[in-house]
């Protein structure tokens, strides 16, 4: 999966989770400098988001990373996932 496919997959998963968790709120636009915490997604929804990404991409960088890193912006989040992209295990 290349960089823009990865970003697209992350954005798509975010949109799906948002739709389930906050169906009455308008979808936020995700830009590189969007602060994740300020999107309105809470801990639980964020956990679901990360879990769904693991199912879709085949890996979870929060588990793979040896340092405690908490991405603050959407750009950092995507870069974090890109860094571990070679750990992807998918059936396709």
């Amino acid at each position: 999966m290349n960089g823009s496919d990865l970003r697209h997959a992350i954005e798509g998963t975010f949109a799906d989770v948002w739709e389930m968790e906050k169906p009455d709120a308008p979808q936020p636009t995700l830009q590189d400098d969007t602060v994740l915490l300020e999107t309105g997604l809470d801990s639980l929804a964020f956990a679901v988001f990360v879990g769904d990404l693991e199912d879709r991409l085949g890996y979870d960088p929060f588990v793979l990373s040896t340092e405690a890193y908490y991405p603050r912006t959407f750009g950092e989040f995507v870069a974090f996932y890109a860094r571990f992209a070679d750990h992807a295990q998918t059936d396709s």
Partner: protein, 436 residues
């Protein structure tokens, strides 16, 4: 000394600050005479109202039931009846038969009453209905030491529900320890709450590991001038402990292990997961004792043994120890947490009972068999999952949507299965039960 006496003996005047309307000691009030000796329930949205009420009521009423501001009207009605509440104080307009705080508080100094008030605290359940645990001020303030120099002038951030055990600990530490409580107003978004606490100079903050992971994602996290970082409600892993020590090098990082049933257990401050095996030695902890039996941790509160109110009996052994439900292993000088015993799933600090979730799934006629389990989450510890054997004629996509909607309606959010897998069959034991 009742709570009023302790609060009035403070040297610092500010009790609660929400960024716009602080509560000072001089704003405190007494309880109307007709409420004295009653079983008083309190359900208010603002922290300053809660503080005024508990200070006015302790030592004066017979029993004091604290209800969450977010409790449903059905829950409030149920608890009212189960506990035998004689007076419900609330500023909510969706509850019946309530008295507004203004009508039960009277100007004047709160009474240094000597009545041994029972404090009734609720714990959260999987479907929402809470259980009630009995405490008193002594058991709730066991770990607050006024001679601890670090407490005076402390600015305690409150991100927990103040009517639950963890939040109440923060409230009482602030009130009795000569500190102030910094409380974001009701309805404040989490990101704004963190920014507000930074702006108000919060230097003592207590939260679950899941909440801490979120706080660390906030750009204002480094602006919090923290001297004391406390974690509780979930096992604290080495990652989050390490991140907190690095982000707040000036702070003392403690992990508190406590259960609502047994009262405050103990604190760990060495920055490592689990706790020192030395804590298992008799007499090692003040007012409490710990023991490990068959790989499970049991706790005894020696100050005021607590119990459930309303019919449920706590599992207590002959030495007075209460089973915590937490599996542990003792390795050299350390006791480590392995996770919940039996089947409880810890989702961000909320314990979910799988069988309760299964009962809800079974309400859908197209569910033949189901088994609720968990998957681990680096964010909240665990998420709930379900394996479902559907009816032959069921459309999986539709059924999945319907089951999630059903669960959302009947269960707290944490208990809603996030992943529903349809399987051909589930193994049954000889007794005919689904094998976990």
């Amino acid at each position: 000394m009742n709570l009023a006496a302790r609060v009035l003996s403070r040297s610092l005047p500010t009790l609660v600050d929400d960024g716009s309307r602080p509560l000072h000691a001089q704003d405190l009030a007494g309880l109307a005479p007709e409420a004295q000796g009653e079983t008083l329930a309190v359900c208010v949205r603002r922290a300053d109202d809660l503080v005024k009420l508990i200070v006015a009521a302790d030592g004066v009423v017979d029993r004091l039931l604290l209800l969450s501001a977010s409790a449903s009207p059905a829950d409030v009605a149920r608890l009212r009846q189960a506990v035998g509440v004689t007076r419900l104080v609330s500023d909510r307009d969706d509850l019946e038969d309530v008295i507004h705080p203004q009508d039960v508080l009277e100007p004047g100094v709160p009474s240094h009453g000597g009545r041994p008030t029972q404090w009734l605290i609720t714990t959260s359940g999987t479907t929402g209905p809470a259980k009630v645990v009995r405490h008193d001020l002594a058991s709730l303030t066991r770990t607050i030491r006024l001679e601890d120099g670090q407490l005076s002038g402390a600015r305690w951030g409150l991100l927990y529900d103040p009517t639950r055990f963890a939040g109440l600990q923060v409230v009482l530490h602030a009130l009795c320890g000569d500190g102030s409580l910094l409380v974001p107003p009701p309805g404040t978004a989490f990101a704004d709450a963190v920014a507000l606490l930074a702006r108000l100079g919060c230097d003592h903050l207590s939260a679950t590991p899941s909440l801490w992971r979120r706080i660390l994602m906030h750009p204002a996290a480094t602006d919090l001038p923290l001297k004391r970082v406390t974690l509780g409600g979930e096992p604290a892993d080495a990652m989050v402990l390490g991140a907190l020590r690095r982000t707040y090098p000036e702070a003392r990082v403690s992990h508190i292990y406590a259960s609502t049933e047994a009262g405050v257990g103990f604190t760990v401050t060495d920055g490592r997961p689990g706790f020192p095996a030395a804590y298992l030695e008799p007499g090692r902890l003040r007012g409490a004792a710990l023991t490990v039996k068959d790989g499970m941790l049991w706790v005894r509160n020696d100050v005021a043994p607590s119990s459930y109110v309303g019919g449920d009996a706590l599992a207590v052994d002959e030495d007075g120890f209460v089973a915590t439900g937490d599996r542990v292993s003792v390795e050299d000088d350390r006791v480590l947490f392995l996770g919940r015993a039996g089947s409880g799933i810890n989702v961000g600090g909320v314990t979910v009972d799988p069988q309760t979730v299964e009962a809800v799934l079974y309400e859908h006629r197209q569910v033949r068999l189901c088994r609720v389990g968990s998957r681990s989450s680096p964010v909240t510890g665990a998420l709930v999952t379900a394996d479902v054997v559907p009816d032959h004629d069921a459309d999986e996509a539709t059924l999945r949507r319907e089951l999630q909607a059903l669960c959302r309606e009947r269960l707290v959010r944490e208990a809603v299965p996030r992943k529903i897998d349809f399987v051909a069959d589930l193994e049954l034991s000889a007794a005919g039960k689904v094998v976990r």
